[in-house]
């Protein structure tokens, strides 16, 4: 690690993040081809795209499960951090400051929603796939849920990308998710309560 830098994200955390990101982008691309008439016309091979989308989804969930299992105790500790909100977090969410730990309250909410959406994407996707073959798995609302998740995820993603890539005060965080470490002064300013190892 460079002097003056502290480690923010473990290899397991970064792997989980990037497996999730890669899967999400591939599923978004293939999903939009199925969803947007313009793109459907351009690509046309609906059966192929549908199979790619489905099996990529299965692979995505499987890969996430493997990383979570391999990450074991380290990721469990991360989950505990994301689970816990103290009074400073609540103050922060109300826009009144409040020193933050390794994750700020917004990052906790984003991570929790992303995990919940992953489950719901998986369930609704499997129902769409099997519902095409068997009426027992067919619900009129499955497609509404799957689409709705996509729209909300896109909003979260746009905000996430803005903060990670563009916003001057926060974009330094990207380094933590790629190389693992962040500038110690930056960390002290943005995550005052965090005590790096």
């Amino acid at each position: 690690m460079k002097p003056g830098y502290v480690r923010r994200f473990s290899p397991a955390e970064r792997l989980l993040h990037w497996v999730n990101a890669a899967g999400f982008f591939f599923l978004l691309a293939t999903g939009l081809i199925l969803y947007l008439p313009r793109l459907s016309m351009l690509v046309s091979r609906r059966q192929l795209i549908q199979s790619l989308h489905f099996w990529a989804g299965v692979g995505w969930l499987g890969a996430l499960a493997v990383v979570v299992l391999l990450g074991g105790r380290r990721l469990l500790a991360t989950a505990r951090e994301l689970d816990t909100f103290d009074s400073d977090d609540l103050r922060w969410l109300r826009g009144r400051g409040g020193p933050q730990g390794r994750f700020n309250a917004g990052q906790k909410i984003n991570a929790v929603l992303t995990a919940a959406f992953t489950i719901l994407f998986g369930v609704s996707g499997l129902l769409l796939w099997f519902g095409e073959q068997d009426t027992r798995y067919r619900f009129a609302s499955t497609v509404v849920l799957h689409d709705g998740l996509m729209y909300v995820s896109l909003l979260l993603l746009v905000g996430h990308l803005y903060l990670a890539l563009i916003h001057p005060a926060t974009r330094h965080a990207l380094r933590g998710m790629t190389l693992g470490s962040v500038d110690a002064d930056w960390a002290a300013r943005h995550h005052a309560k965090w005590k790096p190892e």
């Binding site: 459907s40 609906r46 619900f139 499955t142």
Partner: protein, 233 residues
Amino acid sequence: MDSPTVTEHDPDQPRRYGRRLFLATVAGGLTSLYWGKAAWDHVSGAISPVTSAVLPGGGWRIYTISGNMPVFDPASWRLKIGGLVEQPVSLSYDELRALPRVEQVSTFHCVTGWTVNDVHWGGVRIGDVLDRARPKASGHALRFVSMEVPYVDYLTMPQAALRDVMLAYEMDGKPLPQEHGAPVRLIIPEMYGYKNVKWLQGIDVVPQAVDGYWEDLGYDRNAWVGRSNGYGA
């Protein structure tokens, strides 16, 4: 009392809000399988001018069964009416458009759960096309043949005679776009979209309705909206 008092609501005590948010989101999402569409229909009905403008493709999804979407060539395309008829007919695009024109506004339901409200269709009634071919008395059903091979589907004569069944060559004031089945598609609003055959090239009068493309894959032959394919009683 000399037992130590326990503070139940210590404001500085960290709260496990993360798992609550997680479980509430998962639970809300799963239960939405039962209320999601009703809620969305309610909301989108109220704001339908907005959603039709904002939702990509106006809420439509384009389903095809083959690798290539059929291309309409006005010079070579014909709608052929055959089978059990006295006089087989072959209509060009201009001849089809010269038949008595009708318009209607109807809602399109897909069996997978999406709906497009208030679609404006222009076209002809099936009766006006069939009359020219004079179906024989032994014909009790129609086979609709798509240019997207091997897509076919069937309607019984009474189904095809429902008053808002039409052959649509216009959608929302414009010639039917390629992805919606250009030059002409079947519209039967009472039934799910897979009965509304796109890219029509032929209508055959046949003795009876049998299974079409999606029925072979397990969907109901009589695809009444809300009363078939596992929906409704």
